[in-house]
Point group: C2
Amino acid sequence: MQTPWEYRYAHRMQKMGSSVIRELLKLTEQPDIISFAGGLPAPEVFPVEKFKEACNIVLDTLGAQALQYGTTEGYLPLREMIARHTARFAIEVTADNILITSGSQQALDFIGRLFLNRGDYIVVESPTYLGALQAWNAYGAQYISVPSDENGMIVDELEKALRIGPKFIYVLPNFQNPSGATLSLERRKQLITLADRYGVPIVEDDPYGQLRYDGDHLPSVVKLDSDMRGSNGGHYTGNVIYLSTFSKLLAPGIRLAWVIAPPEVIRKLVMTKQAADLHTSTFNQITAYEVAKGGFLDEHVKIIRSVYRERRNVMLETMDEIWPVETRWTRPEGGMFLWGILPQNMDTAEVFKQAIERKVAFVPGGSFHPTGGGKNTMRLNFSYSNPENIREGITRLGILLKELIAAQKN
Amino acid sequence: MQTPWEYRYAHRMQKMGSSVIRELLKLTEQPDIISFAGGLPAPEVFPVEKFKEACNIVLDTLGAQALQYGTTEGYLPLREMIARHTARFAIEVTADNILITSGSQQALDFIGRLFLNRGDYIVVESPTYLGALQAWNAYGAQYISVPSDENGMIVDELEKALRIGPKFIYVLPNFQNPSGATLSLERRKQLITLADRYGVPIVEDDPYGQLRYDGDHLPSVVKLDSDMRGSNGGHYTGNVIYLSTFSKLLAPGIRLAWVIAPPEVIRKLVMTKQAADLHTSTFNQITAYEVAKGGFLDEHVKIIRSVYRERRNVMLETMDEIWPVETRWTRPEGGMFLWGILPQNMDTAEVFKQAIERKVAFVPGGSFHPTGGGKNTMRLNFSYSNPENIREGITRLGILLKELIAAQKN
């Protein structure tokens, strides 16, 4: 007889319906659509030749090691390189503070697995990163949203949230996905002080920190936390779990990211990873190390910055020029996204349908708000499309918005 | 103040203590030890040159695609190749039946996540694969052990287990890890019939199926299940979830495996993977496809078979020659492991300590028995060490066992 599979699935799967976003993104994949919906890096800046060179060196010199099973923690020279890289920002960190993961999404999943019992609360910014919500929904998380503005999470609202007793606070301080906002220095300091006062850990997700196009670098939350606690004999042992990735600096197709955390947390994450997938591809780790070592990464990031800065500028200039006065948007100092805000009574999910007809796409903002709201907002990606398409697509969207707003007034 | 992390972890982490095996394996990593403890493929047979060639072709022709984000299901040409490969064994299967995972461990984890509520029962062979237990312990699984002999799971004992109401049956039919036993054709048929009668799905884990050194290939459980149900318009829609991997056929360092299941189960696993790590490395998938296509895989597997057959033979010959008559062992027709059985009153965990002093290592069998027993058993790997070391190490072990058995008699 046919197996009735749907009655066999675990309770957790009830929260794992196919996401609205996933369905939307399918619509945006038609080749003639100018899509600002995805979150893809520009493939033009992938260091393909450097990768080829590195693959050849790795397979010539370390072939058997690169193709063999590896340690769960990750390739030691790569972890040491990340530690040195992190130490440049004056954070005391060693390889024992670092776990390599198969992309940051895996780090988010492991954090959920390590910390979350069904019903546990997490403090998030509103809006927040959808991938984190997807990861943690599988563990039955509940969310406490703290509103944000152009300077990130409104920390004055945080204390009320902390008194609910959340498992941790999740924050993307630099050029946030989706809003593009950067948490101000003042708020970063308030955040670590409040988190320490209530004994609630912080998960700092920082995929874009190095992709800054204007303004000054701000110290990361983990750095400020480290400073507040003072030296601890070389290891970082504070209150922050920090995530970053090679997806935006080199290429996402190699699935390489890292977690920085106190060694005791890393040890638990290593056990989690051991049970989840043994380890991240040895070949990719050794190859990425070969690519990144010797200063290549710093040089390459300069190229990415210059390409993305131009694209962001074209998007902002076109919006300034074309978009109706009733609309607003963020002016991100880095990253890959900006955030459009329409008049309160407009619904971007409806706008989306008409935008698709005009062959241009974005992500309606509602999904990024785990506790509701944001129906009049939208996320626009500026890293993937070339300047010409950005100008054309943003113009089409601007004209559509003008028409819709004019129609409302009649 | 210092964060008391241990009070913040989820309940599931209580079952995730550092495994005994993990601690043991650390002892076996000293360079002068001949270790039969690990489960590593022989690095000498990794197709390093072929990989190099493939990396160059892929980066020259599909560089931007290979380094970009990919689909969660996996690279379509790779899934289609696996479907064709599977169809050779007369199983009706399409790319919609296939999900690419980052190694089989990830497939085991996803199956746990998809099916297991805390306290759910799983029917396993005793002994069974430790990695599966590690994956499912995280979801609070309980185990019902069905004893096995040299023909695999004793299916006559299965019916009682099925009446407990397990979520699924887990079986490794070919050259099982750890025992080396192969499930007989008769028992395979009984297994699918019983599973169908009770409506309990089967998870068939088959990493070694193609590594057969003597005897005839037996049809996989998924194939027999497919036959029993008859044609279903191209897709497989039966009662079995089948796992296999490139780790043993090409190289484990690329972390590539696959799941074959009814399309509705694949769709749920895709959602699970989306939340867990987005997708498996695009670069590794395209490169593995480039390596494996055009018949290379079949040719390469012949080389692996000939190397491992020799090593298994040397191990068996040395055991026949040296090991005391009070000991027994399996004679696997393939795979990477054989299973030693000492007199009932001996404890291989104790033998292990003395073996380490003589610079030889194995895995004590107790850990492979989730509901207890097997203290007098041991797992020996024959794929990793060269024939000379196998002869030397197995001789040392045999002499130690002789001494220990003689001492018991005095």
